[in-house]
């Protein structure tokens, strides 16, 4: 198959690369761009470890063709840290045990980040619902909820302080 020359906007940077028309975004990120934070955990789009954001919407990179993502803003877990420091959700997952082996963590980061961007104060049920798109085999999810609550509190505190300043 002849390769296509495509241009992808990943984490705010533009990458030009040649890829086969049927290449998955997941393989493109991992192999061509070296962004290995996005993980492969299954064969059938059931685990959520490869979740990335397209224009802020969480999507599975294993269900997307790289060539079809040319006009969208792609954010991977590597693009979450803000100004050289951990985003609130990244810090909270570390502090509260939301991450053990860490293999599913990038996917959860992208899912939770998108949830909180869209709904800064989700209910318990909304959090559970959002998380059900991703599988974790270590934590039993309980400590993730604590981490998410802590991240929400940290974000709210940050906003209050920003308003005051």
């Amino acid at each position: 198959m002849p390769k296509l020359l495509i241009s992808l906007d990943v984490n705010g940077r533009t990458h030009e690369l040649a890829c086969e028309p049927n290449q998955l975004l997941l393989d493109c990120l991992r192999q061509d761009l070296g962004l290995t934070g996005t993980k492969r955990g299954c064969d059938d789009s059931s685990c959520g470890a490869c979740t990335v954001q397209l224009d802020g919407v969480p999507m599975l990179a294993c269900t997307l063709l790289a060539a079809s993502c040319q006009n969208q803003r792609i954010t991977t877990v590597e693009g979450l840290a803000e100004h050289g420091s951990l985003a609130a959700i990244q810090k909270a997952y570390g502090d509260w045990g939301g991450s053990q082996c860490g293999y599913c963590t990038p996917g959860f980061m992208m899912t939770v980040h998108a949830l909180l961007a869209q709904n800064p104060d989700p209910t318990e049920e909304q959090i559970r619902g959002a998380l059900s798109s991703n599988l974790c085999r270590c934590t039993g999810y309980t400590q993730m909820y604590e981490a998410i609550r802590a991240a929400i509190a940290a974000e709210q505190k940050g906003r209050t302080e920003a308003r005051r300043a």
Partner: protein
């Protein structure tokens, strides 16, 4: 007890940022220049002789560099020295659907996959065995010629006088329990990257480096040495981040050996990563198990005797099987005081993927049976389920009837805590119909007292290097697989040296750099590697104390360490920030000018100042290096002889320097229309000795309970003539966030006398209690006692209908009765694969005479 600055504090794992930012590297994230990709050809037959393999067409295919077959590396290996029955790729025979036949090495995954189809293999199908009880009758077409009756190993143990115990009992209950097969399904599929370097002296391929998703780098190095016929010193195994193990990476998995053999043949670095389906075939999970259990009690609830016959469907290779079947018997003791035990264990070979070690290794399915039966006995003698457990407590410290030494025993407090938190007394058996509560207990080893490779070597060794910059580098062989062992090691080193956590850097699990540690399995790391770290750090501290004491004109014992400082006992530590400072992971830079440069003139000035009574950590380190010439500490750990068990055959498995304890209460609802079980909440109390890092301990306890919940309600490997019907995360139903209840972890600290700071294991012991707690809660809710796990809606409904004598039984298969199960079922019953499959063995249940576990009439 407090007084610790870092131990006992909730601390983020030292590698947490690498995980949340995606920058941490797992094996599949690694690449090397010129790296090729390997893909494995798997057997489509459960049992067949390989007549011919022809790779000519594959080798001509685009981008293919090499094709590896069994003959390229025929040496046998296996994780246990008594179980060397595997080869890298099949030699002569394949023994399960998914067995490894050949490996294509190509420039890309797609090219390798394409070439797989071009390998021509001729098979001669052989009769296959799928049911363990049928397999035990085999006289011909054995799975391994040297194992008569396909029996991998059997053990027959008698402790005390079971006959007398049963005779003096007031109540005896007997029953068969079936636990279906489950697998680890760690989120990271197995991956291995192998690369040889050219030797400058010989000009040929020399040293091998292997990066692998393993829990046991040292064992991998050992097995690679056997298969490749290379000295261990020429093989370097590096464990990058590992995305979960649960036992599935605790032995050498075929791809790890195949990648190295392929790299040798292709003369280039080779990476192999399993697809999720291949992970299921590689398996090594918890075997499906038949437990025939008989328990006897007095009227007051005292257990007088237990007899258990356990049959494990071990799959086609030994794997950890001999250990699994021994654990099943040995850990009948050490939870309760049982004076008389009879145990008959059979580990059976079948033509299915090999089973191995999985979280709670060997104990889980037997514990499900035992705790369910104890509940039944309590009902029979009219005793509360928590009370009967309290009646049978051990009197620690003690030696159990089967020779297990118990020194710390937090079970009474665990039971008390869950009973209190769940409001057991006021709620048990008093909830509306359809809702119920159940209790279960379990325990587990904190490391095996005897290592797999028989020798007197220490189980863990740790080296610590401290340099003039005040940095502490800990070299440990402990394999962090997500449980947080690197963090544990850093905490122990920092606590012992009184320095901040940020000073400590952990270099782990690299056989060239780190001393031998036998790996992350049997919950041994905190106890054993923690103790080795403690000893190494104490050695460093003693050296610093000697030098500093010399400076301060005091005995080394009067030098106090803490808050990143050292001071003379009685002097003010000169700390304005207090103990909290050490917890904050920031490097303090106090005294760095003197510490790093320390020219002669400064030294002179110091001498003129006369003795001081306090120093920064850096200054103390520099003083120690100047005094001794070097500052390194070593420590090792080997379990004490008293804890290594009795003299009987098989006594080596089960003994541990310490045991963890767990009690759980489950609160469930059962929908009598659909058979669906909903778990509302689980209270889980776990005795971990001391919680070195409470966040981690709670995480491990919750994770174990949750994994038990999966096995209790929905996880099950479904088989059909040796073919796994659900080899994907979509169909192997690991609970999602919406199916996972609240789990309240309650930490109980019994402070073990030999554990590091009193710590024991926390990662496995809680799993086993969850399944019987849920089974007992289902009984409390709707009055049916399920003896076959998992408790799927289908099984619950069948049991409810059988109880009501409802004519509309499901009857998916003839033997299907989850209340009184007889034998394992095959997928689909009526849809039995006929005619096209391999010829069946004459003893196979599916042959002729209807079938024991199929349904020839097609009832649904």
């Amino acid at each position: 007890m407090s007084g610790f600055s870092i131990i006992g504090k909730p601390i983020a794992m030292v590698d947490a940022a690498g995980k949340t930012t995606g920058l941490g590297k797992y094996t599949d994230d690694l690449t090397l220049p010129g790296m090729l990709i390997g893909k494995i050809l798997h057997s489509p037959y459960p049992h067949a002789r390989i007549q011919r393999i022809d790779a000519t067409r594959a080798l001509r295919s685009k981008g293919v560099v090499a094709v590896v077959v069994g003959a390229d590396a025929p040496n046998k290996y296996g994780i246990l020295p008594v179980g060397h029955d595997e080869t890298a790729l099949a030699v002569e025979k394949v023994r399960y659907i998914g067995d490894n036949v050949a490996c294509v090495v190509a420039e890309s995954e797609a090219l390798a996959e394409r070439a797989l189809e071009l390998i021509d293999v001729e098979y001669e199908p052989l009769p296959a065995y799928f049911d363990p009880e049928e397999s035990m009758k085999a006289v011909s077409d054995l799975i391994h010629a040297e194992k008569p009756h396909n029996l991998e190993k059997d053990y027959h143990h008698v402790f005390g006088d079971p006959g007398k115990g049963f005779a003096e009992a007031d109540c005896i209950v007997e029953g068969r329990y079936l636990a279906n097969e489950v697998t680890h399904a760690a989120m990271e599929p197995h991956s291995t990257l192998a690369s040889f370097e050219l030797d400058p002296h010989t000009g040929n391929m020399g040293r091998l480096t292997v990066w692998s998703s393993t829990q046991v780098p040292y064992y991998l190095q050992h097995k690679l040495s056997i298969v490749l016929e290379m000295p261990m010193s020429q093989i370097r195994v590096i464990k990058p981040l590992v995305g979960g193990g649960f036992g599935g990476k605790s032995e050498v998995i075929p791809l790890e050996i195949i990648a190295a053999v392929a790299a040798r043949k292709a003369r280039a670095p080779v990476k192999i990563t399993y697809t999720r389906e291949e992970v299921f075939w590689a398996h090594r999970g918890r075997p499906r198990t038949i437990v025939d259990l008989k328990t006897a009690v007095k009227k007051d609830g005292a257990i007088t005797a237990v007899a258990a016959k356990v049959i494990q469907d071990g799959g086609a290779y030994c794997s950890y099987g001999v250990v699994t079947i021994l654990y099943s018997g040995a850990l009948l003791g050490a939870l309760y005081d049982i004076p008389n035990i009879r145990y008959d264990g059979y580990r059976v070979l079948t033509n299915k993927p090999a089973c191995g070690a999985m979280r709670g290794h060997g104990t889980v399915n037997v514990r499900f049976a035992f705790e369910s039966q104890l509940d039944e006995l309590a009902v029979k003698i009219g005793m509360d389920a928590a009370a009967i457990r309290r009646r049978n407590l051990l009197k620690s410290p003690c030696m159990t009837v089967n020779g297990l030494r118990v020194q710390s025993y937090g079970l009474p407090e665990c039971i008390a805590k869950v009973v209190e938190r769940s409001r057991w007394a006021e709620r048990k058996s008093k909830l509306p119909r359809g809702r119920g509560m159940g209790i279960g207990c379990s325990h587990y080893v904190s490391g095996a007292a005897n290592s797999i490779i028989r020798s007197d070597m220490p189980h863990s060794t740790v080296n610590i290097k401290v340099d003039r910059d005040g940095g502490v580098v800990v070299y440990t062989g402990a394999s962090d697989i997500g449980q947080g062992s690197d963090t544990m090691v850093a905490q122990i080193a920092a606590e012992t040296l009184g320095c901040s956590l940020a000073r400590v850097k952990v270099v782990a699990a690299d056989t060239d750099l780190t001393p031998v540690d036998i790996g992350s399995y049997s919950s041994r790391v905190t106890f054993m590697n923690g103790n080795a770290t403690l000893r190494a750090a104490e050695s460093v501290r003693a050296q610093i104390a000697a030098a500093v004491g010399h400076r301060m004109n005091c005995a080394p014992g009067d030098v106090v360490f803490g808050d990143d400082r050292v001071w003379k006992r009685g002097a003010s530590p000169d700390s304005t920030t207090g103990a909290a400072q050490a917890v904050i992971p920031e490097v303090t830079v106090s005294g760095h000018v003197e510490g790093q440069i320390l020219r002669g003139s400064v030294q002179q000035k110091r001498k003129e100042e006369g003795p001081r009574d306090r120093m920064s950590f850096e200054e103390a380190v520099v003083a120690a290096i100047d005094f001794h010439g070097t500052l390194t500490g070593v420590g090792s750990y080997a379990p004490p002889v008293e804890a290594r068990g009795g003299k009987h055959k098989g006594a080596g498995v089960g003994p541990s320097p310490a045991y963890s304890y767990s009690a759980q209460v489950a609160d469930v609802s059962v929908d009598e229309e659909t058979g669906e079980v909903t778990v509302h909440k689980i209270w889980a109390a776990h005795d971990c000795g001391r919680a070195l890092n409470p966040v981690s301990v709670e995480g491990q306890v919750i994770g174990s309970v949750w994994m038990g919940l999966g096995q209790a309600l929905q996880e099950e490997m479904v088989w059909k003539d040796g073919l796994l019907m659900n080899p994907s995360l979509l169909e192997y139903r690991s609970p999602s966030s919406t199916e996972s209840p609240e789990i309240e972890a309650i930490i109980v600290e019994s402070i073990d006398p030999e554990g590091p700071f009193g710590a024991k294991e926390a990662s496995e012991g809680s799993l086993a209690a969850c399944i019987p707690a849920i089974a007992n809660a289902i009984y409390d809710a709707v009055g049916v006692r399920l003896r076959e796990s998992p408790f799927t809606p289908e099984r619950v409904l069948e049991a409810l209908r059988a109880k009501k004598k409802d004519a509309r039984k499901y009857r998916l298969t003839r033997s299907f009765d989850p209340v009184n199960p007889v034998t394992f079922r095959e997928h689909g019953g009526a849809l039995r694969f006929k005619g096209k499959g391999p010829a069946r063995h004459s003893h196979d249940a599916a042959n002729g005479r209807g079938s024991q576990n199929g349904n020839p009439r097609g009832e649904v």
